[in-house]
Subunit: 395 residues, 2 copies
């Protein structure tokens, strides 16, 4: 069996195709993000069937069990800390209270680096190393920077991380602890992005900004593959906090791939729900207008730093995933986020990050509105560990 | 198949036996800690063979795959957040530097609650719930309190946690976030223990102090079972930071059980190495005198709060495990601990807690002394996530 069925890159916007085996960033034709495409027909014949019983039958309990649909050609280039195969936990007490008996939380906080960003960094750094990259650069709201610096350290790559000066302190320290170069700038992740673009160009660094390279999303998509194996099928609804949007885009990509692989025959797509903070909700505003793209959100402000992204490069892909699956987008207040953190800790024993708590707050809102119902299987994503937010823990 | 082969309790000191199906604390005859004993001959016939290829073949990727040798009789009482089956990571760069090509780290920081204490709390709380307990009380250096409060919340039990007032802030907040009652006291865990003993007696709470109930160790022992499945056999050397000692006692108990189960036929026992801080090293002092028990360590002081335990109730069991396996005990300085944290982050991408870093510092010392050699397979335990120590991360 070949190790990876990676075939080519395709622009998510104009659908131009490119060779997958050289370093690529945005589409040279239109500036859209590039997506990895595989020979899925071949993979279908050779990949093991999903286990569907909650256990990682016949393989590793990490995301490398999906190696045939990941972009690393030679396993020697894998940079791993044991990421993926995170638990799916029933939220019994909260579900009862909301009238949602099949409510679950997938706890991404149990990943290395304490967030789902570990998945994207593991695959992104591995592929960058395979393609000969030595220096990574990226702007980040915090956790992606920590993850890429950490996997960079593990893989022997240097990393250059630019963060807003008010990014969570733990993520700042994480970059330093991994030996990465940290630069703090005034403003938001969008401002950090400008600094990275300039410096990466000048220094010859690999710009690993969200969706400016094709492989971070390949790591994130494994969350979708795991759900089918852990729950036996795709859930009816998936609720995800959205900043850059790679989580939602990745899960939707997994859904599309699994259709070709025969993993989800006869199933309806999971309704994908994007949750944002009221203080930074460009995707929600676009959804309300049924627009194909979002507009830059001025004055972005929320305590959930990871979803403080005023304009995402992949906004049109997030919105397409919502529209295509019959999902929705919902905004919640910082007060609702803090209250959801409290509930998760006290009622369910889950120390969630504010972004994960936002997903619960969104579910609560949709339950009140009758958009969710008791017959549905619903999975919230807690995207990170509450331990990375000591200032909010136990507040 | 019966769910658990739990048969009786046996005193670790005087070997008196007791009924396992009622609430028990220390041995009524001699005051020694009670250990759970199973019908291992029966279990041997009915338990699945270990997978030995690094994957959790034929079962769950958490510690409940060992349910037949865990004490919970009815799976309905399981309180779980997905604990166990943590990754074993090669430490390639550090190993090369030390001349130890087969050096590994088992990363317990990827557990729920961010430490190996999740294992003991999951099993301890589950069994307490099964036996009808409603209120848990325990003294803690920090992380055990956070874990028991969190699993208590998940299981619907109230928790009462007493900590030294200078215990790590994150662990304090974790108890509060889980809705537990937190009391801070001057002094050390031994002082907290006195408060708990008094209050538990008065209020009718279940005293869940280290080894004062028989089941925490049952959760911790699963670290030993996992190693056999993940590495294919027991390693030659296991290096563990020792405070209360339950990790070492648990792994040695797993070794003894696996001999009866036929999982380690023909293997030599792993040499068990206890690492302590120079500022609190009662076990190391006892080992140096080849004593059977330790003496109370006055003036205990180290930044590694989890191993600041001046006298462990199970010290004689830790020492017996070291002597029986040809292990050793070694003390390291706080400066060596901080330096080991740096190395793990920068060279290997592992954000270790200070206790886990102490294990590496111990390995470095033993490598310099020639006690370790390049032919050995050596596993260090990183007992918790560096994110729980923001004041040390990146320092």
């Amino acid at each position: 069996m070949v190790h990876s069925y990676l075939d080519h890159l395709e622009c998510g916007r104009c659908h131009a195709t490119y060779d997958a085996d050289r370093v690529m960033h945005l589409c040279p034709a239109c500036g859209g993000p590039l997506l990895a495409r595989y020979d899925l027909e071949q993979a279908r014949r050779e990949m093991p069937a999903p286990s569907r019983d909650g256990t990682p039958g016949g393989g590793r309990a990490d995301l490398w069990r999906y190696a045939p649909v990941l972009p690393i050609r030679d396993p020697a280039h894998r940079v791993t800390l044991g990421e993926g195969w995170t638990p799916v936990l029933p939220l019994g007490r909260i579900g009862d209270r909301l009238g949602l008996p099949h409510l679950y939380l997938k706890d991404e906080g149990q990943n290395p680096t304490g967030t789902f960003k570990a998945r994207g960094a593991a695959v992104g750094v591995s592929r960058a190393r395979e393609l000969g990259v030595t220096d990574l650069a990226l702007p980040t709201a915090g956790n992606a920077g920590g993850a890429w610096a950490t996997y960079g350290a593990r893989g022997g790559l240097r990393s250059h991380v630019v963060m807003p000066q008010d990014a969570p302190v733990i993520a700042q320290r994480e970059v330093v602890a991994a030996g990465g170069e940290l630069q703090l700038v005034p403003g938001l992740i969008s401002d950090a992005g400008k600094v990275v673009a300039e410096k990466a160009e000048k220094e010859g660094w690999f710009d690993a900004s969200t969706l400016k390279e094709p492989y971070r999303i390949e790591g994130e998509k494994t969350m979708g593959y795991e759900l089918v194996e852990q729950l036996g099928r795709m859930p009816d609804v998936i609720i995800f906090p959205v900043g850059g949007g790679v989580g939602v885009i990745g899960i939707y990509k997994a859904w599309q791939e699994m259709q070709v692989l025969g993993w989800v025959d006869g199933e309806r797509p999971p309704r994908l729900v994007a949750v944002q903070a009221e203080g930074c909700s460009p995707i929600v505003r676009a959804y309300e207008r049924q627009a194909a793209e979002s507009e830059f959100f001025t004055g972005a402000e929320t305590l959930a730093a990871g979803i403080r992204v005023p304009k995402a490069l992949g906004d049109f892909l997030v919105l397409a995933a919502i529209y295509d699956t019959g999902g929705t987008a919902v905004a919640v207040t910082d007060a609702e986020i803090v209250e959801a953190m409290r509930s998760l800790g006290r009622e369910e024993g889950v120390m969630a990050c504010p972004e994960g708590a936002a997903a619960l707050a969104g579910a609560m809102k949709l339950a009140r509105q009758g958009w969710l119902d008791r017959g549905q299987t619903i999975v919230l994503f807690n995207t990170g560990s509450g331990f990375k937010y000591p200032e909010l823990l136990g507040s």
